[in-house]
Structure formats: C-alpha cells, structure tokens
C-alpha cells in the first residue's frame, strides 16, 4: 500500500485498480472467468462490464452497511449481497440479449464466487466510506474489464481472424483454433503477464538508476 502522509485520495483509489493493482495482471485474481469467457472481444467486454456492475453495487452496499453487519456474519452477508446483484444482472443480460447470455453461459452465475468482488468487499468496502468504495469498485471493475478485453481481443484476432465479429485478417490467414480453446487462454494470459511484468521491472530499474544518479 502506498500510504503517504495524507493517505490516498479518492482519485488514487480509482486509479490503482486500473494499473498499479490491476486485479488480473497484478493481483492475479478472478482467473476463472478471465480464462473461460475471453474467447472473443465482445464476450470479454460483456463479462468485464457485468463484473464491474456487481462490484460497484456490492462495494456501495457493503460500505453503507459496514457498521450494521456484525463481524461474525460478515462473509455470509457479503455473499448474500453479491449473489443478489449477480442474479439481478443475469436477468438484465437475458433481457438485453439472449445470444450474449448464451455465450457467457454459466459464468454469469459464477461472478458470485469471483474473488475480486469478495476480496474488495473484505479488504476495502468494509473499512472505507461510500465515495471511496465506489471509486475503488469502479477502478477495479474497469481494470478487470480492460484486462479481459486485452485477452479477448488477442484470442479473437488469432483464433478467429476477427475482432468484434468483423474480419480483420486476410482470408488466407488460417485461424489458430487453439487460441479460442481453453489452452489459448493460458497462453495469452501468460504472454500478457510477461509483458506487464517486464514493464514494471523496467520502470523499477529506471527509478533505481535515477535515485542512484541523484545520490552521486
């Protein structure tokens, strides 16, 4: 935690989920939907947004109720709240598009057990006020959506030769079927983790170099 003298501001709480504490690439949480439904960009985006809605709502409610929920039954209460929002979101998705509901399948209900959501409820919303919890939920949700989209886009382009269902690669390109199969999810996730770890290592090295120069 980057605790400064004044403590993180609301904007900080929002920003950290996008990059510094990205739920997928940094915390490596919620891998089940991450690997399963990212075989196309649209599925990944829909899953990310559905998770974000649930995350923001549950963070808000849990933050409001944090003084009302006794410590011993907090996990049960959180699960109850999260499951209710997931059920509501599932009905809404069915109302918006049956095809989308079909594509996401059982993974909508599994948002309940996505550890990103329970994790934020326990680690953040139960200790912070409403505004900060909303910012944290929105930031983490966007970060999650962003990560899922990166996975989904790569897998769809390589596995189907298209992006959002529109062909982007020439017809002569033979799609790599493995990329839209579960194993392709692992390959893609591994490659992105490699990339993001490289970026953060390089940044750390540069920072260390800069301090060394100042010192000398």
């Amino acid at each position: 935690m980057s605790a400064t003298l004044e403590g993180p501001t609301t904007t900080d709480e929002f920003i950290k989920g996008l990059w510094k504490e990205n739920p997928v690439f940094v915390q490596v949480l919620g891998m089940c939907p991450t690997l399963a439904v990212t075989n196309s960009a649209i599925n990944a985006l829909a899953m990310g947004l559905a998770t974000m809605v649930v995350l923001v709502m549950s963070n808000a409610v849990i933050s409001l109720l944090r003084k009302f929920i006794p410590k011993q039954v907090r996990i049960a209460s959180y699960i109850l709240i999260i499951a209710s929002f997931v059920t509501a979101v599932e009905y809404v998705i069915q109302a918006v598009s049956l095809d989308l509901h079909k594509a996401l399948g059982a993974f909508i209900s599994l948002i309940v057990v996505n550890c990103v959501i329970l994790g934020r409820a326990e680690a953040f919303a139960s200790k912070n006020d409403l505004v900060k919890s909303l910012a944290d939920g929105a930031g983490m949700g966007l970060g999650f959506t962003f990560a899922l989209f990166l996975l989904g886009a790569v897998r769809e382009v390589l596995g189907s030769g298209s992006l959002f269902g529109v062909a982007v690669l020439p017809a002569s390109f033979q799609p790599w079927v493995i990329m839209i199969l579960p194993s392709g999810g692992f390959f893609t996730l591994g490659s992105w983790l490699l990339f993001f770890n490289y970026l953060s290592k390089r940044k750390a090295r540069k920072a260390a170099l800069a301090t060394a120069e100042v010192a000398s």
Binding site: P70, V73, I81
Partner: protein
C-alpha cells in the same frame, strides 16, 4: 457471556442477516418481474427467427401441441412436445419446424429442423443450443458444406407410412452419395454423427405422425 461485546449479540447477527436477506429477496423479485416480459419476448423472437430460418418460405408461424390423436393449435402456455407450423403470406402451409435433441460431444445439442410435406424432406436445420468444441464441433451450426446437407435431406415414408424408408445416417466427409445421407465435417465426426442420430430418432417418431395428421395443420382452429 462477558465476551459478547456490543454489536456481537446473536440478535444483531440475526437482524443483519434477515434484514439483508429480505431486501435482497425483494430486489431479485422486482428485477425478475421487470425483465420477465422482455425475456419472454426475446425467447419467442429467437424461436420465430429459427423457424423462419429452417422454413425460408414461411412468413408466419403457429405453435401446435402433440396430443394422442393428432395435433392441436396451441394458444395457452406450452405443454408437452411442440411442433411449429410455418405458413406463407396467404396462409397456406409451407412446412413444419420440429425440435430435436440428443447427446453431442460435450453436452446435449438442441436443434430445430424444417420439414416440407411437398418434398418429403428436411429443408433446413438450425442449432438452438450446443456446447460443442469451438472451432471444430460447433461448425455444425455454421459450416456451409454441412448446412448444404439440409437443402433436401430425404426422409420420405415407406408405403405403410410407419417410418422413413431410409434412416438418416452420417457418412465420412466427401462420400455422400444418397439424399438421405449426411456429409460429416472433417474433425467433427462425433458432432456430425450426433446430429444424424437425433434426426434419425426424431424423424422416425414425428414424420409418420405429422404425415398422418397433416390435415390438423392445414386449417388450424378453423381460422385462416
């Protein structure tokens, strides 16, 4: 019980859980009620799209329930096995859309196929639900070569009208030589065979019955 501090009494836990439960229950019920008509309309529209896809000449559809002595036009909620009649603009019968299901490679596959009384053949097939392997088995829904099987898949009945003369059967890709054979997809043999098996089973059950009670579809309920 000195250890029980304020906020930790059983009553407060009870109050919190029941309170949250009641509010959450209300939320789910209201969302369910709010979205129910939209979801049902979506499902009906998806089914109708599928019917028109397997019976391209149809412009309107009617739902029939199978009874012991024929088929009855359905107006209330669905009960028992259903078949769907497709009608042209002037109300003349184009054909029937019949649902079928069977075990595929991964899970149950549900399909809808169009039957033409005139051609005594299956004239279209759409996959309603399948969890077949992406890129291989799921081609049963999209592969143009496989879909071409259902331009006129012969299921004409034997003389006594008890069963199709030739059972629908899947053959190896590129070896289809008879109009009742299904040209399989290379790399999706099990899924192709599953489709053939469910068609074979469904046509043996339904085609004799719908042919026998063809009049039930001609002028359903006396209405045009």
């Amino acid at each position: 019980m000195d250890a029980v501090a304020k906020g930790d009494s059983p009553l407060e836990m009870y109050r919190a859980l029941v309170g949250i439960g009641v509010v959450c229950g209300l939320l789910i019920v209201s969302v369910f009620q709010g979205t129910k008509p939209i979801i049902e309309a979506n499902k009906a529209a998806a089914l109708e799209r599928a019917i028109f896809q397997v019976l391209p000449a149809a412009k309107q559809s009617k739902t029939f329930a199978a009874t012991d002595d024929g088929f009855k036009l359905l107006e209330g909620p669905a009960t028992g096995p259903l078949v769907f009649g497709g009608y042209a603009e002037d109300g003349s019968l184009v054909g029937l859309a019949i649902p079928a299901a069977g075990m595929g490679y991964a899970d149950t596959i549900r399909i809808l196929y169009g039957y033409s009384f005139e051609a005594h053949a299956i004239v279209g097939m759409v996959v309603l639900e399948s969890k077949e392997t992406p890129g291989l088995g799921d081609k049963i829904a999209s592969d143009p070569g496989f879909q071409a099987n259902f331009e006129a898949l012969d299921v004409s009945l034997s003389a006594d009208g008890s069963a199709p003369v030739h059972a629908v059967a899947a053959v190896k890709h590129g070896t289809k030589s008879n109009p009742w054979q299904l040209d399989s997809i290379t790399g999706a043999t099990i899924s192709s065979k599953a489709v053939a098996a469910m068609l074979r089973e469904s046509t043996t059950t339904w085609i004799p019955k719908v042919e026998k009670h063809k009049a039930d579809f001609m002028n359903p309920g006396g209405a045009k």
